[in-house]
């Protein structure tokens, strides 16, 4: 029998205060656990509610801190009601709160009261990608001129190593425009229902950048990040969008700091 199973059986024979205490923490309809009380026989309903409130409010606050544009779009009352449902349905499994909220965009997509804002889930996905880039490992990006040293006949075989912060995101909505407007301090004007926008998220230094990817750019970057050589990634992009501009896309990605290294495909197996 595994050690932890032995230990929890042992504790079960004593008193599993954690199981008793947590049973009602995310469920406001449950009575406080029998295991706790106030002093001198005082009741523990409001006392236990302090913990329940701390848990729920602090986790809603954590989502509000991670999804500020989503919050600004919906307003705080709408956001906090939506977040409360999510917290109770999907509390965090990691003690690192900046990891919390990975399932929140999908929840928003299903959330009954957000159906009139079909683009809201993508804004939240954009914010999640931004936060991942913010905390990603630091690395020196590949210099813009790095490809100049590769012989032209070898370019198609070139494979790129993505920067740890780089993320590509595809959207049916103008997500970059909406995100940018709601993450700045200025007033948000009316955003017309616009063209779909794919996004590139990078953090070459300390600042996270979100850019609009040109047509075919998202599939191109997806393929490169999956380790496909430049030629194959470009072919996939052309197949999706005939107007795909290879030179502009490569230049844009390098300038944004999307990669840390480039090498020939046949060098791949070197230790």
């Amino acid at each position: 029998m595994p050690q932890d199973e032995l230990q929890s059986r042992d504790l079960g024979r004593r008193f599993d205060y954690a199981a008793a205490f947590t049973a009602g923490l995310l469920d406001p309809d449950r009575a406080p656990p029998d295991a706790v009380s106030g002093p001198n026989g005082k009741a523990a309903i409001k006392r236990y509610a302090v913990y329940r409130n701390n848990v729920t409010v602090s986790l809603i606050d954590a989502l509000a801190a991670s999804f500020p544009a989503t919050l600004r779009i919906t307003g705080p009352d709408f956001f906090r009601a939506m977040a409360r449902f999510h917290v109770r349905e999907t509390p965090p499994s990691s003690p690192l709160l900046f990891e919390y909220g990975r399932d929140f965009p999908d929840f928003i997509e299903r959330y009954e009261y957000a159906q009139s804002m079909p683009w809201l889930a993508d804004v939240a996905r954009m914010e999640r990608a931004w936060l991942d880039a913010y905390h990603a490992a630091d690395a020196e990006p590949l210099a813009s001129g790095a490809l100049a040293s590769i012989p032209p006949e070898r370019l198609a075989d070139t494979v790129f190593v993505p920067h740890p912060a780089t993320r590509a995101m595809r959207s049916r909505y103008p997500v970059v425009t909406i995100f940018a407007a709601n993450r700045s301090d200025g007033p948000v004007g009316r955003i017309e229902a616009g063209d779909p926008e794919d996004a590139l998220v990078t953090r070459p230094g300390l600042e996270v950048f979100v850019r609009h990817l040109p047509p075919g750019g998202a599939v191109f970057l997806d393929r490169l990040m999956a380790g496909e050589p430049l030629g194959a990634a470009a072919a996939a992009a052309f197949a999706e969008r005939a107007e795909f501009d290879l030179a502009a896309n490569i230049a844009g990605l390098l300038q944004a700091g999307a990669f840390t290294a480039a090498h020939q495909e046949d060098e791949h197996d070197e230790p």
């Binding site: 050690q3 932890d4 230990q7 929890s8 504790l11 004593r14 008193f15 599993d16 205060y17 954690a18 199981a19 205490f21 947590t22 923490l25 406080p32 295991a35 706790v36 009380s37 106030g38 002093p39 001198n40 005082k42 009741a43 523990a44 309903i45 409001k46 006392r47 236990y48 302090v50 913990y51 701390n54 848990v55 602090s58 986790l59 606050d61 954590a62 509390p91 965090p92 499994s93 990691s94 003690p95 690192l96 709160l97 900046f98 880039a133 913010y134 905390h135 990603a136 490992a137 630091d138 690395a139 740890p164 912060a165 953090r203 300390l206």
Partner: protein, 305 residues
């Protein structure tokens, strides 16, 4: 003052200056204050950070903490190790904690007598435990494991609580004293937590302090609290960290420092965070009390420092 407050080892490969923390007042480090802090001259005091906020791989948090650590003593305060929980410690989390200790060489390292994770859920609050012979053994094992992993003693913080466990067979101070005896850990005395718990459970804060193993304290916390009512309509204080330190807590702090000498003292202010000058003034008020006792107890403070 015991020796636990000092860095346990200063290796030759140290990346940062030693920056002793003895006798200093400090405050929680908040990123929005970084530009103001970097502009401060002269630089004084110390900063405490919640360890979990620096457990990402890279980016601005590590850049900021590196800058702070270059100029100041840093206290690494763990919030979610679940030392007070019944389950085994999370090895991955412990590994991340050790990596931070190794990387930033903090002057102080602390954790809570509480728990926050159960099974697969992280509750993001400091939850209470019953004080029994069974739980004291388990918590002591957890402290041993943390100290063994990071290679130095930790300071364990007394909790603020809102409920009691009728199953408890030991007082909180007896429980804490027994943990110190078994593990050799030091203590982080949160004076606001003493005041909050004393109010909530109807005991005397001064009696608690008289019974507390003050000789093992390596750091003090001070913070603001909020007021609610319990089911009987009596005052129930909440450890909210969202305002200035209450007058009653300042008075208790004065009593503690009068007995212990000038211990490193932190102003915790974690929500409704004020502008830097407000926080700095609160820290200066704590420093004034530390300095007054350092002057009147000069020989004792000098010997301890």
């Amino acid at each position: 003052m015991n020796g636990l407050a000092a860095p346990s080892r200063m290796s030759k490969t140290s990346r940062f200056p030693a920056h002793p923390v003895a006798g200093l007042a400090g405050t929680s480090f908040k990123h929005e204050h970084l530009p103001a802090i970097l502009g401060d001259d002269p630089k004084g005091g110390f900063f405490e950070v919640h360890a979990e906020n620096y457990m990402g791989a890279g980016g601005p948090p590590h850049d900021a903490l590196t800058k702070i650590r270059r100029d100041y003593p840093v206290s690494l305060h763990g919030v979610c190790m679940s030392i007070g929980g019944p389950r085994l410690l999370d090895k991955a989390h412990l590994g991340r904690f050790k990596a931070l200790v190794d990387r930033y060489e903090p002057a102080l390292v602390s954790e809570h007598l509480a728990w926050s994770t159960h099974d697969t859920t992280y509750y993001n609050d400091l939850l209470p435990l019953p004080y029994t012979h069974a739980t004291v053994s388990r918590v002591a094992d957890h402290i041993d494991e943390v100290q063994g992993t990071i290679g130095r003693p930790i300071l364990l913080e007394n909790p603020s609580t809102y409920v009691l466990f009728p199953a408890s067979t030991m007082s909180e101070t007896d429980f804490i004293r027994e943990l110190v005896r078994r593990t050799g850990c030091g203590l982080l005395l949160d004076v606001n937590n003493v005041f909050v718990s004393a109010t909530n459970h109807g005991f005397s804060a001064l009696s608690y302090l008289a019974d507390f193993p003050l000789q093992n304290v390596g750091e003090i916390h001070l913070a603001g609290h909020a007021a609610q009512e319990d089911d009987e309509g009596d005052l129930l204080l909440i450890d909210s960290h969202d305002g200035p330190v209450a007058d009653a807590v300042w008075k208790l702090f004065d009593v503690v420092i009068g007995r212990c000498g000038p211990l490193p003292t932190l102003i915790e202010w974690d929500s409704a965070i004020p502008d830097w000058p407000v926080l700095k003034a609160e820290t200066a008020a704590a420093q004034a009390i530390l300095d007054r006792h350092a002057d009147s107890l000069f020989g004792k403070a000098h010997a301890a420092g």
